[in-house]
């Protein structure tokens, strides 16, 4: 059940009512049941993989906590979890390859194209590793099993993140969450934002030109390719950040906070800032559990560059076994290394944007856009054809597609609007809460958003990050 679907709305309404009826009591069992049901309604067989990883990782975490030498348990937990993840994610490439040499694998090699990767495994596997490492480092006491299981399976974040750390959610489960009017309102507004981004902006407005151009890369004019490239950049942003808004909003409505995952990444001034604003929970996971253990910046510039590059390349492979994902990750690795080597590395994302930042923002945005091409293209040769289409210089004087270009302009404006509105929203919510017309505003916005989302959902596209 996708969050942007009527069956999910029915499911969520039932859970929400059940949680409200229980008042301030702890909801661990109820939410755990709901989360497992949510997953089972999606893919009952995948529940076996989830259950196996939950049970084994929990047992290992308990041993880790009790053992005087916990390192072995940690290694076992990480190998088991990431091994299972890799088995599913890379089977479609690895099994046919292995079958060339092992005839007994041939029937499996032809069946494997139908193998459905357990939905959300990339996300919950990383969360399990995060808990294991934090328990090992004594940053987090191992919670009771029900809370551990709920932390991993909590349905708003189960299938596509945000990728949480135990300390962010387990303490909230301990106290049963907080369903305050302000949090409810924020949840509602996040849900509305998510629906508009995902269904209207991403699927309805941006997706068609992307689909059309990437289906025949190199065929249309240069401007069409350029607009399609921009469109995909905003499509994947609207899709994934829309999903994250929905996840956070639904969680707020149930009384729990999830961390932000996106913060207007295309307004970043350099690649490092981009990664502090794009898929923030994955970035910090890669930093804390990969880059730092690799040595981080502690062993001189050359090793730092290598660590940066490796972290991003492995981050690319996390998305899938394709060469395109590796190239995408490697390109970002190169951008980060070049940025660091240039000496321009500085942590200034808290400073407001100024007009003088515009060239850096535009440059960063275009580097990110170019890297999206291999990410989106179905094959490497399709990516090369797309680059060829993009470089049809003579066609840039004409042949611009006006409607898709207008949609891109709308997406850019939305990005700036998000940056401008976010800091003002909390105060506005407080004002709405005390105003007699607050409920009317909420109701009208929700009604209009849901109606628009239902009407525009004919594109019927799944969230892009569900495949990872």
């Amino acid at each position: 059940m996708s969050f942007a679907s009527v069956p999910f709305a029915v499911f969520f309404a039932a859970v929400w009512v059940a949680v409200r009826l229980r008042g301030d009591r702890e909801n661990t069992s109820l939410l755990l049941f709901a989360s497992l049901l949510f997953y089972a309604l999606w893919a009952p067989s995948a529940l076996l993989v989830l259950g196996f990883l939950l049970a084994s990782n929990y047992a290992l975490a308990r041993n880790m906590e009790r053992s005087p030498r916990p390192r072995g348990w940690l290694v076992a937990s990480v190998v088991l979890t990431l091994g299972t993840l890799a088995t599913f994610k890379y089977a479609q490439v690895a099994v046919p390859f292995a079958a060339r040499f092992v005839p007994a694998l041939r029937p499996l090699a032809t069946d494997v194209e139908w193998l459905a990767v357990p939905i959300g495994i990339s996300f919950y596997a990383f969360e399990m590793v995060s808990v294991a490492v934090d328990v090992h480092a004594r940053r987090l006491p191992c919670p009771p099993f029900s809370r551990y299981a709920l932390f991993v399976t909590f349905f708003p974040h189960l299938v596509a993140g945000p990728i949480l750390r135990g300390g962010e959610l387990v303490p909230q489960f301990e106290t049963g969450g907080a369903r305050t009017p302000l949090r409810n309102r924020r949840g509602l507004w996040l849900v509305m934002s998510g629906l508009l981004k995902k269904v209207v902006l991403s699927d309805y407005l941006l997706q068609p030109i992307v689909k059309e151009t990437f289906a025949a890369p190199g065929a249309a004019s240069g401007p069409v390719h350029l607009v399609a490239m921009y469109s995909f950049a905003f499509q994947i942003y609207a899709d994934f950040s829309g999903y994250s808004d929905l996840a956070r909003g639904l969680s707020c409505l149930l009384g729990y906070e999830l961390p932000m995952n996106f913060e207007e990444p295309y307004l970043s001034r350099d690649p490092a800032e981009f990664w502090r604003r794009w898929h923030m929970t994955l970035s910090r996971w890669l930093r804390d559990y990969l880059y730092v253990p690799l040595g981080g910046n502690r062993h001189g510039p050359a090793r730092t560059y290598l660590n940066l590059f490796l972290t991003m390349a492995i981050g690319g492979l996390w998305h899938g076994a394709g060469l395109n994902f590796l190239v995408w990750g490697a390109l970002h690795g190169v951008f980060l290394v070049a940025h660091r080597a240039s000496g321009a590395a500085r942590n200034d994302e808290k400073r407001p944007l100024a007009w003088s930042d515009l060239p850096r923002v535009v440059l960063t945005f275009h580097l990110v856009c170019l890297a999206w091409i291999p990410f989106r293209a179905p094959t490497w040769s399709a990516a090369v054809d797309f680059f060829r289409g993009l470089s049809k210089v003579s066609s840039y004087a004409s042949a611009w597609p006006p409607f898709p270009a207008l949609v891109v302009a709308l997406a850019v404006a939305t990005h700036f609007a998000e940056r401008a509105l976010r800091p003002r929203l909390p105060a506005f919510h407080v004002r709405l809460a005390s105003a007699s017309w607050g409920a009317a505003v909420d109701g009208a916005l929700l009604g209009a958003t849901v109606a628009l989302a239902v009407l525009a959902s004919g594109a019927g596209t799944q969230f892009i990050y569900f495949q990872f």
Binding site: V6, P7, F8, G23, D24, E26, L41, W42, P107, T110, D111, E113, W114, A116, D134, R139, G167, E168, P171, T175, G176, A178, T180, P181, L182, R186, Y204, P208, A215, A216, A219, A220, E257, P259, M260, M280, T281, S283, R284, P401, P402, F403, P404, P426, V430, S434, G438, A439, V441, G443, A444, L445, L446, G447, A451, V454, L455, A456, S457, G458
Partner: protein, 411 residues
């Protein structure tokens, strides 16, 4: 668990602060203990809920009414939806009557190979040949075909097929339709509403999720059917599909306003590119590079465990258990052309043998027609038969199929 009578001690004092803290990427211990604060004074809950509901209803109507009005006024068309398949089947069920003097009624089910032709189709030719044969004088045939109809959709519709007053079911299996990519593209997942509760468990054991048929989808769509809301929901989906095409109208309208032809230019370029990439130069035959995309692993020779065969097995078993004597036929692929471009065609035969094993194990029979037609008898790169000329593919295939139907009946 905390004392429910006291305010939660850990609630962060300001919502802004909560958002800020929760967004801090490096922090593990997010929630500090802090005195709870009262929410700002708000109007009473019940009138507020009423105001909320009324304004939501008014606002949604304010969005839906003008959009639907524009769609109707502009007569925006739409693509095929699952309801079209179901509606066609319902109509056929309503209008199909078993003739009084008929000994055997046969239901032919298939995709465009069965029904599409610019002359008499395979279904027409099969029917003609059956009635021309002395053994088939009192055999009647009815036909249900839909472009891209997959074994997953047929499994969903199995109970509807059983409602036909047919003695036998003849099922086409197109080797091109057996890949995971095809299952995703032509899934019609809403047909899951036609799956009755007694088949849910079987459904969960089959790889239907690649067609978007999840347990949740089955329950939701079944609930619509059972509660009689299917028609209302179909109207919503119909509106969605038309609103989707409204975007295309807006694209063209802006082109017209600016006196440019960007839509036609880019679609024309994509079409030309598609033709060039897909076809052997100068021929309506696919390139070697595309065989893997269109014939999937079936070209390599798949085992009886191949996931679509599991669905086929369940479908055949359903028909066999209902006494419909299922006959499955493997539709032709252009083996002549594949040989000419260097594709090893022995894999097809192995796949068909696996299919035979599955079909026979589940109480059906298999008619292998995958090598029946020569290159000249196939009209396009998707292996649709030609309908004209002395060696017309539809006539040849119809003859083989009719013969197979009559022969297997006689056995």
């Amino acid at each position: 668990m905390r004392d429910a009578s006291r305010p939660a001690p850990w609630i962060i004092a300001e919502e802004d602060r909560a958002q800020e803290v929760a967004s801090e990427p490096h922090r593990v211990e997010v929630y500090r203990r802090a005195p709870a604060v009262d929410a700002p004074t708000t109007p009473r809950a019940s009138p507020r809920a009423l105001v909320f509901a009324v304004s939501a209803a008014v606002a949604s109507a304010a969005v839906v009414v003008p959009v639907v009005a524009v769609v109707l006024a502009a007569r925006v068309d739409r693509a095929t939806i699952s309801a079209d398949v179901a509606r066609r089947l319902d109509e056929l069920k309503r209008t199909t009557r078993r003739p009084a003097n008929v000994r055997e009624q046969v239901l032919l089910i298939g995709d465009s190979v069965l029904g599409v032709a610019d002359g008499p189709s395979v279904a027409d030719e099969t029917r003609r040949r059956i009635s021309a044969d002395p053994r088939g004088r009192d055999v009647s045939t009815s036909v249900f075909w839909w472009p891209g109809l997959l074994v997953t959709s047929e499994w969903c519709l199995a109970d509807d097929f059983l409602e036909f007053d047919a003695d036998r079911v003849v099922l086409e299996v197109n080797l091109r339709s057996l890949g995971a990519g095809t299952a995703l593209a032509f899934g019609f997942p809403e047909l899951a509403g036609r799956v009755r509760a007694d088949r849910f468990v079987e459904g969960l054991s089959l790889p239907l999720s690649v067609s978007g048929i999840t347990a949740g989808q089955m329950l939701f769509d079944r609930a619509l059917v059972v509660t009689g809301l299917e028609d209302a929901w179909t109207r919503v989906v119909d509106a969605e599909a038309r609103v989707y095409n409204l975007r295309d109208r807006a694209d063209r309208a802006l082109d017209a306003l600016l006196a440019v032809h960007s839509v036609d230019e880019r679609r024309g370029a994509a079409f030309q590119d598609g033709l060039a990439r897909f076809h052997v130069p100068g021929k309506l035959r696919e390139r070697r590079e595309h065989v893997a995309e269109t014939l999937w692993n079936v070209r390599l020779g798949v085992a009886p465990s191949y996931p679509p065969f599991r669905i086929l097995g369940a479908l055949v078993r359903r028909f066999a258990d209902a006494g419909k004597h299922p006959l499955v036929w493997a539709a032709p692929v252009n083996v002549d052309h594949y040989r000419s471009i260097g594709v090893d065609v022995s894999g097809f035969a192995r796949s068909v043998e696996s299919m035979r094993a599955v079909v026979e194990e589940n109480g059906g029979r298999l008619l292998d027609l995958h090598t029946t037609l020569r290159d000249a008898q196939l009209g396009d790169a998707s292996d649709h038969a030609t309908a004209h000329g002395p060696g017309a593919g539809t006539a040849a295939l119809g003859a083989h199929l009719a013969q197979g139907i009559l022969d297997t009946e006689a056995r």
